[in-house]
Symmetry: C2
Subunit: 214 residues, 2 copies
Amino acid sequence: MSWSRHGRGPGERGYHHGNLREALIRAALDLIVEKGPGGFTFAEAARAAGVSAAAPYRHFRDREALMADVARQGFQRFEAALAAAWNEGRPEPLRAFEDLGKAYLRFAREEPAYYTAMFESGLPLVLDGELRQASERAFQVLRGAAETLCGLLPRPQRPPALMLALHVWALAHGIASLFGRGDGARRALPMPPEELLEAAVLGYLRGLGFGAQG
Amino acid sequence: MSWSRHGRGPGERGYHHGNLREALIRAALDLIVEKGPGGFTFAEAARAAGVSAAAPYRHFRDREALMADVARQGFQRFEAALAAAWNEGRPEPLRAFEDLGKAYLRFAREEPAYYTAMFESGLPLVLDGELRQASERAFQVLRGAAETLCGLLPRPQRPPALMLALHVWALAHGIASLFGRGDGARRALPMPPEELLEAAVLGYLRGLGFGAQG
DNA sequence: AGCTCATGTGAACGGCTTTTACATCAAGCC
DNA sequence: GGCTTGATGTAAAAGCCGTTCACATGAGCT
């Protein structure tokens, strides 16, 4: 399946690109990971795709719209990664919850461009309905897992699932944001981020009344 | 006390500004809070100070150096705010630790420009020794508090203080980053961030073996 | 008064964003 | 096949920003 360029040899193209929208998104991902969300440039993405600086405006309203599209796509993949790790609580809720946490950090580490666009690009989440919904759906995976977990506890000591979800999200995001990128630009850690998160979540859950054995 | 402008009336100035360095930092703080770390512009800071676009280069190597100076100053104030809240563990370590957490979020809320420059401007912390040291000193306040807290537990169940400090830092930063700014641009919360953090820390500490009563 | 150095100016260069008028081409229709 | 049309690309231009450079100003010292 020709991914672009209507049957011409690789590297060539005619007047039209054939898949500029996708090419721009890929270029944006590379640039974001390389120079941060602020360093990414519409013009450079256009150069990477081999088109003029004005061409991207046929596919995105402006630079921010491209960033928002990257973030939206990122939230979709994030949701899928989290849902796969949670796996509806199998084989066992506490274990699946740990897998969910690991998947969170793995996504931040392996898809730093998406994660950056999603959480550190300064996009006004409120203004873009689709973006907000994508982010909401990803959070609902975590929230659902929290509901299942809370359901394990006897009613009188059952904490609000929303609160549990927010706590774990903040923890995971804090670790990802402060220590979680491969570059280690911000701070060295005495242990891998995954272990740091696992220890924190286990301690936190124990405090909530979950037995240490699960 | 004339804050600038050698005795001229307010709003006027001669060829020299008199306090351009400080004026640029103040302008940067205003712009960062208004348009984010990426929207802040060297040229606009210069306009706000009433000087030409080239003048700032007499005081900062480049735009990033001004941002780094803002961040460095922010870390110093941050350290002072955290140390004052911790107050060497008085009146009582667990209570002082909660105060420390509240001070963290209060700083993020009341000084969003500093907090943004410190944690969300994409500054390469590693490259600037002074910046790194300022950030390190702020973290040491948290670390010291964690040491004191851990000292309360009997040796066999005593967790590593560094780990406790990292956990609480990640939690506080996660909450500040996701929900902590006044604008609420990212997500609404069913409770104030301070309460969210307090509940998380209390639960976490309980799991570590701290009695609920302190 | 005169010197000097820190500090500010204006002009210039290159890069980025965005808009506008125009070019190209694939596809459908006669 | 020729024509029209709409999507997609281009070049050029205006405006902003970062940065540098040669030059101007003036505060403080001698």
